[in-house]
Subunit: 146 residues, 8 copies
Amino acid sequence: MQWSVYLSGEIHTDWREQIIEGAKSLNLPVEFTSAVTDHDTSDAAGDVLGAETDNYWRDSKSARVNQIRTKTLIEAADLVVVRFGDKYKQWNAAFDAGYCAALNIPYITLHEPDIIHPLKEVDGSAMAWAQTPAQVVEILKYVTGS
Amino acid sequence: MQWSVYLSGEIHTDWREQIIEGAKSLNLPVEFTSAVTDHDTSDAAGDVLGAETDNYWRDSKSARVNQIRTKTLIEAADLVVVRFGDKYKQWNAAFDAGYCAALNIPYITLHEPDIIHPLKEVDGSAMAWAQTPAQVVEILKYVTGS
Amino acid sequence: MQWSVYLSGEIHTDWREQIIEGAKSLNLPVEFTSAVTDHDTSDAAGDVLGAETDNYWRDSKSARVNQIRTKTLIEAADLVVVRFGDKYKQWNAAFDAGYCAALNIPYITLHEPDIIHPLKEVDGSAMAWAQTPAQVVEILKYVTGS
Amino acid sequence: MQWSVYLSGEIHTDWREQIIEGAKSLNLPVEFTSAVTDHDTSDAAGDVLGAETDNYWRDSKSARVNQIRTKTLIEAADLVVVRFGDKYKQWNAAFDAGYCAALNIPYITLHEPDIIHPLKEVDGSAMAWAQTPAQVVEILKYVTGS
Amino acid sequence: MQWSVYLSGEIHTDWREQIIEGAKSLNLPVEFTSAVTDHDTSDAAGDVLGAETDNYWRDSKSARVNQIRTKTLIEAADLVVVRFGDKYKQWNAAFDAGYCAALNIPYITLHEPDIIHPLKEVDGSAMAWAQTPAQVVEILKYVTGS
Amino acid sequence: MQWSVYLSGEIHTDWREQIIEGAKSLNLPVEFTSAVTDHDTSDAAGDVLGAETDNYWRDSKSARVNQIRTKTLIEAADLVVVRFGDKYKQWNAAFDAGYCAALNIPYITLHEPDIIHPLKEVDGSAMAWAQTPAQVVEILKYVTGS
Amino acid sequence: MQWSVYLSGEIHTDWREQIIEGAKSLNLPVEFTSAVTDHDTSDAAGDVLGAETDNYWRDSKSARVNQIRTKTLIEAADLVVVRFGDKYKQWNAAFDAGYCAALNIPYITLHEPDIIHPLKEVDGSAMAWAQTPAQVVEILKYVTGS
Amino acid sequence: MQWSVYLSGEIHTDWREQIIEGAKSLNLPVEFTSAVTDHDTSDAAGDVLGAETDNYWRDSKSARVNQIRTKTLIEAADLVVVRFGDKYKQWNAAFDAGYCAALNIPYITLHEPDIIHPLKEVDGSAMAWAQTPAQVVEILKYVTGS
């Protein structure tokens, strides 16, 4: 079986690449997907439909265009990894976790120990908490093993 | 019809009371529910089941006990109001929004304009964005009118 | 059993009143619901959340506020009556019919014979086609009979 | 991932061809589907099952045969594009939009600005509103990008 | 808890009355529902919507009007009793059983031993097979006991 | 798209072969499935699990083994054809139709006009009624056309 | 809100009474339900439908009659408490836990520490693990508090 | 059609190998899946995420990592075989059976006659009870036959 793993959250470090490279080096039967991770491109996703003068509507329009992609990929995933970094609000990552929890799509969180407390509801519904991309790769190796 | 409205998010200001009082003064057919909103009580929700030495497990245990309550009340709600304040991570609020979005439970966000950008995915799936409790009461009055 | 019947569509004639009066005179165990049917009020449903300069966003905002009400009431309905008149586009009525069809909520259409052809997909998924409010009342009497 | 995109609505202009050609020229990983778009063929879909003297039943029979196809293809779609032109009632297009909204299947509308107001409920549940087929192709390019 | 029990199938003997009387004499917390059981009335359910010259359409129209009632009541039932007698095709009873099986609504069959073989698929998905109304009452007494 | 079509019902005439051959000669993109259609083999499906002295349990055991197959294939089908012949009770065919109706799986009935009346509920939820295998092939050609 | 709590598992000690009494003394808004807990009565649940000579079928028949009750009550529950004692196989308790997990119905386990290891999958999907009925009452008090 | 069959339960005898070999020798179109069946490896599944001093949390962590795998494979299965041996508690096997029952995933039990009574609820919802791996292979041959 080919597994589909969606990588959600932080876009400012190379955690996605580390997981993808790790899985590749072990030949794991995993296909990775994610949102568009270039910040400016993602913010401008709706601009092609016409310019907006009001920031709220520009953001809303881009968010919904992005959601066409993310909703489809998350719902097709066998597992979601949700990464929280040490900067920014990252409410979209917590939103994705809640989305998965409601649909019974298993997810793993990936974050440092210093944010355990504010993430307690998100961790509480997760299947596992990893602190490093290498740990995520180990979990993937285990669950996809034949 | 009696409407059930769940109030999610920030616990440090009196926005819940403002909405509840506003609805009451208009005799709206609305029953309000929410999580346990006393911070310390909520953090200690699992302690009755035995002390934990590891903070992660204490948090996880309490989070899951709280979820017995919140999951049931959210799924029974006709509408959820998700409030974001200007402090703390508030990932549980975004988690609730994602949970609602996945289950097609309509929700309204309530927040100041200065956090529009980081909330764009959460707002993008919301039915409305309100800036004041009074606006939420107006919406409740409108949607529950006979 | 108390039946919940949602009345969708045309707001320019008194078909709703005829059905409600007819059911009342027969003491049928039916509670009727519907969208806000005052045109101007409905168009302004979102204005309380702030004025919009762009008509598209004003309409979108009001439409979503209205949907909080309509979605909840339609999903709670045992039966939906969808009325098409001889004026206006009435795409919201056809939208409601499609919504019901997808969720297996039974609906009846109510319209004149001259629009049979453009309504063929909507009629094709309906449980019945009525031409007069009196016929709808007869159907309600039959299906709710003890 | 191969995306499945269903093209719903108007059959009198070449908007389908423009989108399909645009996607093809960009090598997008998209498979397009749609209803039978020849008007007379579609109206006669049920005739093979026996002639009808009553137009209502001829229409109903054909509509249900067509629905075998459209229901299956819409439910298999990752995204639906719903086109409204400037002629005819087009209630079937609005019906498809409502069907998608109920099942959480993302859809985009494609129409001119002059029908924004009557389409406000349909647009309100859409993920995006496009005014030209070229814009739809841009969105497809964005959401399916690897 | 008040139980809702739907009585499906044969309309030519008094098995419904026997079950209802038996439950009543034991004060069981059960509310019984069923289709309209007068044969001629049921066949004419759609006539109020206009006469049909073609028997197929008359039957189809009445069947769909009846289904507004039966579908709602079956889906609201905690338990369905499906009775097969010794006459007629009774395909509607088997249809109801299949409907229940698909939705995980528990049902009991009620029939003589001589039709065990043709009913094997229907019995195979049933929770129990009873041969007399008195046995059904016993089962109701048992499952609804406090 | 490859379509999956399940052929349910009568096993005493060659209607399945006629449809399969017809589809094959037109190169339709259809894969056909069905229950085990050899009567004695089907009745003995559970015998390998141990002999039964009581006919009811032998039938029940075989029915449930058969259901492993039929349930899986019906739920995987895009369309089901349900055939009623002029002999036997055929309650399993009506059961399959009810099962499809509940799950919103489209089905077509195939039967002679003389049993329209007892099949009215089954026909009432069908997408079409065909009288000959050749008509079914025509419908398949139409709905699967590219 | 009135909560419905289903008490599943061990029938040889008075843990049910302790929880019910504890909740009563605190006036908690909870209604308790459970299977028939008299062992012999439960084993004989199907006997009224006719004697069986084969133990497997006697057990199967009674199990399915019991399931009419348990399935309905479990699905109506807001929370399930699953008790494992120190005797017997208690596979029905683990079965109920799996049933709840699949349907996203929250459940709590109640057992001594010495069976932690064999219960790890059951505990892993539980919302909490309690060791005494008094702890369960505390949790009920917390989650149902207004 | 390729069938997916999940093998759940006992890990101390070679029943899995017997079924897999049997299916292979008959060229059955079946792909088999299962949990990680090495006891020590399974117990240590979560250790890579950090050591635990408390056995309860070590077990819980490993159980949830294992569930990422088992939940995905069970939900993808067309049929589940649940094996109960003569040792250990095996609550995870009963849990899997309950999970399948709730989701309408057909399952077969495989066990000796001496544990019929404690397994009556698990058997009661099963599609069949087999006593030997060879019988399971026979059933697979039958249900997957073309």
